[in-house]
């Protein structure tokens, strides 16, 4: 129990650091650092999404960049129709583009959730290495589709000229947009925390630990996993929507398998199945990229070396290092 209390305290400290850093940067007149923190926050959200499937459910999805990209494209496509004053469709009924983030987020969540439903329903028929390869392959399918579909920029991507709007905020100001993303992250983390202790969360973790016993209790492991996969895809899709507005640009590279790998890296750097694991991991990743990226263009070599060292020698990630290991299951 003592360890859990430590992790709880650590999480509160981490949440405050992630809030305090950009606030200080804002008042020190360093808008670039605020944007950097926003990037870390959004990537953290993508990692939180994957952590629901991977950490809690034990589903090693190597295709989460697809949901990230679909969320981004949902925003990009609707915003481009809004800025060109062209309706998205006219028949059988009129659908216009929009620049309202709340609507865009909803669409992004629905689109990525539906994609996760289809991909999950097929992929979850298998497990283990098959599941890894199949989620990777489906993500690659969507990636190639985005590249070869000419209507929305194809390989060149799609620009959003003005960041979309949120009621009561000026999203063009870096601090406002950061606070918005931060609030979304905290709300999702709170929901995940609640879910982990609720019936569904317990069932999901039970499925990871012993599928047979859960089935013997009369629950369907397949349905529980599928639900977790869909929720996971939705959260990552929402992160993609925010990322599109951060860069005011979406492109197929949001769906590349490198990004799927990186989202997974956030989790392992921070600590698998830890609530704040992806948050720590994404922050470390962004800091690493920023620090090494300014020294050498070959920073990814050192990222690889660091990742290899963590996997081989430091299992449990940052939170495992600081707060100790969770009881082994």
């Amino acid at each position: 129990m003592r360890e859990l209390v430590t992790e709880h305290r650590l999480n509160i400290v981490l949440a405050l650091v992630l809030l305090g850093g950009p606030l200080i940067a804002h008042f020190a007149d360093e808008p670039f650092l605020v944007t950097l923190a926003t990037r870390a926050t959004i990537l953290a959200l993508a990692g939180v999404g994957l952590n629901i499937a991977l950490g809690l459910g034990g589903l090693v999805s190597f295709g989460h960049a697809a949901f990230f990209g679909l969320g981004g494209y949902a925003v990009g496509i609707l915003a481009s129709h809004h800025q060109n004053y062209e309706p998205l469709m006219t028949a059988p009924f009129l659908i216009n583009g929009t620049n309202q983030m709340l609507v865009l987020w909803l669409v992004a969540i629905v689109v990525s959730g539906l994609a996760a439903l289809v991909i999950g329903a097929l992929s979850l028929r298998t497990s283990g290495v098959y599941f890894i390869m199949i989620t990777l392959a489906f993500a690659q399918m969507i990636y190639y589709f985005a590249i070869s579909w000419p209507a929305y920029g194809g390989e060149d991507g799609l620009s959003i000229y003005v960041r979309n709007a949120f009621p009561g905020l000026n999203t063009l100001r870096p601090l406002d947009f950061f606070l918005l993303c931060y609030a979304v992250l905290i709300v999702v983390l709170f929901a995940q925390w609640k879910m982990t202790g609720a019936r569904f969360g317990i069932a999901l973790q039970a499925v990871r630990q012993n599928e047979g016993r859960v089935a013997a209790l009369g629950l369907s492991p397949y349905k529980i996993r599928l639900a977790a996969f869909v929720i996971s895809g939705m959260v990552t899709g929402l992160a993609g929507a925010l990322y599109a507005d951060l860069n005011r640009f979406v492109s197929p590279s949001m769906m590349s398998w490198h990004l799927s790998g990186e989202i997974m890296v956030f989790i392992i750097l921070g600590g698998v199945a830890r609530l704040f694991g992806p948050v720590v991991g994404a922050c470390l990743f962004v800091l690493f990229e920023h620090a090494f990226g300014s020294v050498t263009e070959h920073w990814q070599f050192f990222l690889g070396a660091a990742l290899l060292a963590v996997v081989l020698f430091a299992r449990g990630g940052f939170i495992g290092l600081v707060a100790g290991r969770v009881r082994h299951d």
Binding site: L54, T126, F138, W149, G304, A305, L308
Partner: protein, 306 residues
């Protein structure tokens, strides 16, 4: 004319399929024997291409380049197995994916550091550089035909190696029961290194052959790696025969889809839209094929150890 074009596309599909087999065979062997998922297999493909291009440019001989790429990929494979991969056999798949993903990042940047960001070019050997006349008066690049023949020969050789030799017997035994063959006195660590180096050599060989068709550049192995995953999923993980059949199916479906779909769609919609929709659909075709196989045969067409 159309028949000739059709035949040409079928040969192109076979050539892609044979290449995919060389990749998928190594992946499926490594998974079958050691239970390891190896994302860095695409990097070995890339290393093969680079070594062949660099050595061929230096010595002026494609063949020396080809031999050098085989040796380099096998040696690098053995080195990586001994230094890193060996520590991953007892880990779960997540650790294997992340560690080999780390290797991908390191290899890509390492190659970029050594060779620069610009692609290298590799010419096929002189006597294979022209076209050959196929029956029916169709000219077809001799080099591509040579790739098909070489790939099928390697497939046959691999089949013989696994079914007829002592090493092959150990590999099959390793797939069936690792602990047991270790208990029978086979040096299992050495066997693992050999299997990994064999897979690496196949990947490097494929990379060197492909290098003379496309440009040799960083990241060239990644699309091939993912296609090879699709092949393995369709064929059944651990099955060499499945890998061969699935590789040829995937190669043909992908090539014919890209060739036929835009033309077929042009009958139902206007030409430019048909090109766009057709190429987008064609790029998804093999993944849809994979989804269909999954629905009916979740363990692949030729499930190993079933």
């Amino acid at each position: 004319m159309t028949v000739a074009l059709f035949l040409e596309q079928i040969l192109n599909g076979l050539q892609l399929g044979v290449m995919l087999f060389l990749m998928a065979a190594g992946l499926t062997l490594i998974f079958g024997v050691m239970g390891l998922i190896n994302l860095a297999h695409g990097s070995l493909f890339m290393v093969g291409g680079f070594v062949c291009a660099a050595v061929a440019a230096w010595t002026g001989s494609f063949w020396i380049g080809l031999v050098a790429s085989l040796a380099a990929a096998a040696a690098l494979g053995a080195l990586v197995e001994i230094v890193v991969i060996r520590r991953l056999y007892d880990r779960d798949h997540l650790d294997q994916v992340l560690a080999t993903f780390a290797l991908v990042l390191m290899f890509s940047e390492g190659v970029r550091f050594v060779f620069g960001s610009f692609p290298l070019y590799l010419d096929p050997p002189a006597f294979l550089s022209g076209p050959v006349m196929l029956p029916g008066g169709l000219p077809y690049p001799a080099y591509r035909l040579a790739i098909i023949i070489a790939g099928l020969a390697v497939a046959a050789g691999l089949g013989l190696l696994i079914s007829k030799t002592r090493l092959g017997m150990q590999i099959r035994a390793g797939e069936a029961d690792r602990e047991m063959i270790a208990a029978l006195g086979v040096d299992i660590r050495f066997l693992y290194t050999v299997v990994f180096a064999l897979g690496a050599a196949l990947a490097g060989f494929a990379g060197a052959l492909i290098g003379a068709i496309q440009s040799v550049q960083v990241g060239m192995g990644e699309p091939v790696l993912i296609l090879a995953f699709v092949v393995i999923v369709i064929g059944g993980i651990g099955s060499i025969r499945g890998a061969l059949v699935a590789a040829l199916i995937v190669g043909l479906v992908d090539t014919m889809g890209r060739f036929l779909l835009p033309t077929l769609l042009a009958h139902v919609m206007e030409a430019s839209a048909a090109r766009g929709v057709g190429s987008a659909l064609a790029s998804m075709l093999i993944y849809l094929l994979m989804a269909v196989v999954l629905v009916f045969k979740p363990k692949g067409l030729f499930p190993a150890n079933a």
